[in-house]
């Protein structure tokens, strides 16, 4: 029985309006693979940010003991010096630099006796080659990172961690965007690292992987530790993990509704989209989609399956210019070639990237609420400030947005409230077809339920709703019909009643194989 290398005791962390972590305990033994699981928003990433010093001492409560000493990290540099290295889901590599340059970025190999700041390229390349062999990446150290696939970039990140004498490696959803083969290779590498005595914390939603490689599993729910399961005696069943993660009846998390589905309103026929830069690469292959009045349709799939590309290309060619296919409304073809025209036809797209694509962060709630429908609050091009205020206040009330007033700048709002402002903006545009791309990403559980309720209500008002989500429970709880998308094509379709997480997953995997 190994001793603990890391003990986190009574960790708490609060953000304005949200308590992200509350009395969380995590004990990791030396040389094990410790999985950290929980729903989105359960606090996994926050906990790892506390551990790696992104949220420095004393901005959190509780104690961190690493290798027998209490640590108070003031920043990432402090935790890295102790050998704690985190690999984030969004990889932190410089795309136009080579593999070798990336691996030694910030601690470049210096030539002995040379002037400070002069790089020893021979040592850099020799050490990089050794590291790449260790992680099993057959590439030249001089290859630019941008020319690698995501899976290979992941390996470069691990090599970079190994170059820094890592003691505790933290991987945040490393396989989320990898295909089966790359995932298997990565898991094999983790087991190999474990054999060399490197401890690893693995955050993942893929419970099958966890059951395969993890020695212990800690389950978080709503910012608290639920339990730590022991996987050494034998694999822990997925159902057992799910019970810990969910911990309550699924039905409570989604509003009950009796769908009143009407006639077909929008139809998409043989929709094809090419990559905006690489002309030959088709990212959506001939998709057909029908939306009925009052129906909530979901699109399931992995990251990179082409779901966002599909949605954005339908919304005024917001994804590149190269596409073909037809969009029909009440059986007649409509023009959706610019955002303006798409909006005029009653289409609204609520982006997955609310900060980057959805909001003007430095402006007020009122400013953002009316942005997509300025004619609705103006006459002859002059904005009626009073009407704008009234409209913004009305949507604030309807969406229960928590803020000091509609003049508040949106950058200060929590994720859930920002999402409500984006929703308010598109509701004010009066859409008949609302496309929701990851509508609850990074939002706390309470706000999620409110958004689900709103979506259900919008469907009952007779609108067509299309929900794109990577959270399968969300799609199963909310949608009437689910399309499964993989590698740019619809590969399966289920009615809500007959769909299940396993069926959807099987549809994806069957295609990938």
């Amino acid at each position: 029985m190994n001793d603990p290398i890391l003990e986190m005791r009574g960790i708490g962390k609060a953000f304005p309006g949200v308590r992200a972590l509350d009395d969380v305990n995590l004990v990791v033994r030396e040389g094990e693979i410790h999985a950290l699981v929980g729903e989105n928003g359960a606090g996994k990433s926050t906990l790892m940010k506390v551990l790696s010093g992104v949220y420095p001492h004393p901005d959190y409560e509780g104690r961190i003991v690493f290798r027998g000493r209490e640590c108070r990290f003031g920043g990432i540099a402090d935790s890295e010096r102790e050998g704690i290295i985190i690999i984030h889901q969004e990889l932190a590599l410089v795309p136009l630099l080579s593999i070798a340059e990336n691996i030694f970025l910030g601690h470049e190999q210096r030539r002995a006796g040379a002037l400070p700041g002069v790089i020893d390229w021979h040592a850099t390349h020799a050490r990089t080659e050794a590291l790449l062999r260790k992680v099993g990446l057959a590439q030249s150290p001089a290859t630019r990172v941008t020319d690698l696939g995501v899976g290979q970039q992941q390996l470069v990140e691990i090599a970079k961690a190994l170059a820094k004498e890592v003691r505790l490696l933290i991987l945040d959803e490393p396989t989320a965007s990898l295909n089966e083969t790359d995932s298997d290779a990565l898991l094999a590498l983790l087991l190999d690292l474990k054999a060399h005595g490197i401890t690893c914390i693995l955050i993942s939603h893929k419970l099958g992987e966890i059951a395969r490689v993890a020695d212990s599993i800690t389950v978080l729910r709503d910012g608290r530790t639920v339990e730590t399961l022991d996987g050494r005696a034998g694999p822990v069943s997925e159902d057992r993990i799910i019970r810990g993660m969910v911990g309550r009846e699924m039905a409570d998390r989604y509003p009950r509704r009796t769908p009143k589905i009407g006639e077909a309103v929008f139809e998409v026929r043989d929709w094809r989209v090419s990559h905006p830069v690489h002309a030959g690469r088709e990212v959506v292959h001939g998709v057909n989609l029908t939306l009925h009045r009052g129906e909530i349709v979901g699109i399931a799939g992995l990251m990179g399956a082409g779901r966002t590309e599909l949605a954005m290309s339908l919304f005024g060619r917001s994804y590149g210019q190269r596409f073909s296919g037809r969009v029909l409304k009440h059986g007649r073809e409509i023009d959706v070639s610019t955002v303006e025209r798409a909006v005029a036809q009653g289409i609204a797209y609520v982006t997955e990237d609310r900060k980057g694509l959805g909001l003007v962060l430095e402006q007020s709630i009122a400013f953002n609420t009316t942005l997509a429908n300025l004619p609705g609050v103006s006459r002859h091009g002059v904005i009626d400030a009073g009407r704008e205020h009234a409209v913004a206040t009305e949507y604030r009330r309807r969406l229960a947005t928590r803020c000091s007033g509609v003049d508040q700048v949106v950058v200060n709002l929590s994720g859930g409230n920002q999402q409500k402002v984006v929703l308010g903006k598109w509701l004010f545009a009066g859409p008949e077809w609302l496309i929701l791309d990851e509508p609850t990403r990074g939002i706390d559980v309470g706000a999620k339920f409110e958004i689900y309720q709103l979506v259900a209500q919008l469907a009952d008002e007779g609108r067509c709703i299309l929900v794109i989500s990577s959270e399968m429970p969300e799609l199963l709880g909310l949608c009437d019909r689910i399309h499964v998308m993989n590698e740019g094509a619809f590969v399966a379709e289920f009615a809500a009643a007959e769909a299940s997480q396993e069926k959807i997953m099987r549809a994806i995997v069957r295609q990938a194989a």
Partner: protein
């Protein structure tokens, strides 16, 4: 509705409640932030008024101050729109000089009447802006580079047009654009009553529109400023306006170019603060992708900002040429720096989406008053530039520091 709703609500509303407890302090803070630059301008004016022994605010000098800065202010209006849209225009000084040269060639060289010549010059300015706007908005070449090229091109073209020589004088009617004053039918011997009357009308209009907006806000149940604050603010502004017009009235009255400038200021302030066009411009500068996904035609908007800038640069070129009464190859040299500095001193953000027309105007006058005051004090052109540079840095530093706090 849901248990979590009730638990998070008090935490979210706690802060505004705390702020409401001390409305006086909060109001003072927001007032300082909003009128900070205006107060700085007043402080700078008082400083130079004291240092120059009262010369700064003498009617003759005040008139000069307005005339000297009119073309900078006019260009700052256009530059503000360009900067809010997230771009920059380095070519305005050169365009200004080029259009002045064109005006001289048309009016002096070819004997054109000043009206068609002025219209052609404004149109050429618009065309120059359009040409640069196409490269920036549609071909996505950084505005810094496009207008740097434009700066060289039009500086060279102005030289070519003038053959390296100065051309003048302009027809008398054209000179009136800069050196003329509004007519005074009352024939007052000491005071130009028409100028004072115009000042009074402007003050009345300002108070009137303030009252109307206040009533509209109340009707829609929006929070407004306290009545006492409203009264004091309007009284101070009206008094400043009347005092300014009164001082100018004891010399030759209000300069024609000041009327042009004032009308443009009011028009641009209205467009940026109250029109959908202005609103979309702020959205474009604040987050271009979000603006585009909200159905805003961002390319067209950026293009229009450059066309507008070209027209205003041309107007400024005409005003400047009329003031010197000759077109010289050196006209407009370095104007772009004063214009851009005016916008940033006035609170515009270099990354776009933030900035106000009135701020840019105040910024222009901060630079203008310092130029004028330091010249009167006999400070050499060398140290004048050093001081101006430091003031620009200090103004933006304070702005950024306040925001980060």
């Amino acid at each position: 509705m849901n248990p979590t709703t009730t638990t998070t609500a008090p935490a979210a509303t706690a802060r505004p409640a705390a702020a409401a407890r001390r409305p006086g302090a909060a109001l003072l803070k927001s007032t300082l932030r909003e009128y900070g630059m205006l107060l700085s301008l007043v402080a700078i004016m008082l400083f130079f008024q004291a240092m120059t022994g009262g010369t700064l605010l003498q009617p003759l000098n005040l008139t000069n101050l307005v005339l000297q800065n009119s073309y900078i202010v006019i260009m700052a209006l256009g530059m503000l729109l360009v900067i809010v849209a997230g771009h920059i225009d380095l070519s305005v000084g050169s365009v200004c000089g080029f259009v002045g040269a064109l005006a001289a060639v048309l009016m002096v060289g070819h004997g054109w009447h000043f009206v068609p010549a002025t219209l052609v010059c404004l149109a050429v300015g618009g065309a120059i802006g359009a040409a640069q706007g196409v490269f920036v908005a549609h071909f996505r070449i950084p505005s810094f580079i496009v207008t740097l090229a434009g700066m060289l091109v039009f500086k060279g073209l102005a030289l070519a047009l003038l053959n390296g020589q100065s051309i003048g004088p302009f027809p008398v009617e054209f000179q009136k654009l800069s050196s003329g004053f509004i007519p005074d039918p009352f024939q007052g011997d000491e005071t130009r009553w028409s100028s004072l009357l115009l000042g009074a009308v402007a003050a009345a209009l300002m108070v009137g529109s303030g009252l109307r907006e206040r009533a509209a806000r109340r009707r829609h149940g929006m929070e407004g400023e306290p009545l006492a604050f409203f009264v004091v603010r309007n009284a101070v502004f009206a008094a400043i306006l009347l005092a300014l017009c009164g001082l100018l009235a004891t010399y030759k009255g209000l300069p024609n170019v000041m009327i042009v400038m004032a009308l443009l200021m009011v028009a641009y302030d209205f467009v940026t603060q109250h029109s959908t066009l202005g609103r979309r411009l702020y959205a474009l500068g604040g987050n271009e992708k979000a603006a585009r996904l909200s159905g805003i035609r961002t390319e067209r908007l950026a293009f229009l900002a450059f066309v507008n800038m070209g027209v205003l640069a041309a107007l400024a070129g005409l005003v400047f040429a009329a003031r010197l009464n000759t077109a010289t190859p050196k006209a407009g040299l370095g104007f772009e720096l004063d214009v851009i500095a005016a916008c940033f001193i006035g609170g515009a953000s270099a990354s776009g989406g933030v900035g106000k027309v009135m701020g840019a105007v105040i910024g222009a006058f901060v630079m203008g008053v310092m130029n004028n005051g330091m010249s009167i004090l006999g400070i050499g052109i060398d140290y004048q530039q050093v001081i101006k540079g430091l003031v620009l840095l200090a103004a933006v530093f304070v702005d950024v520091y306040q925001k980060n706090k």
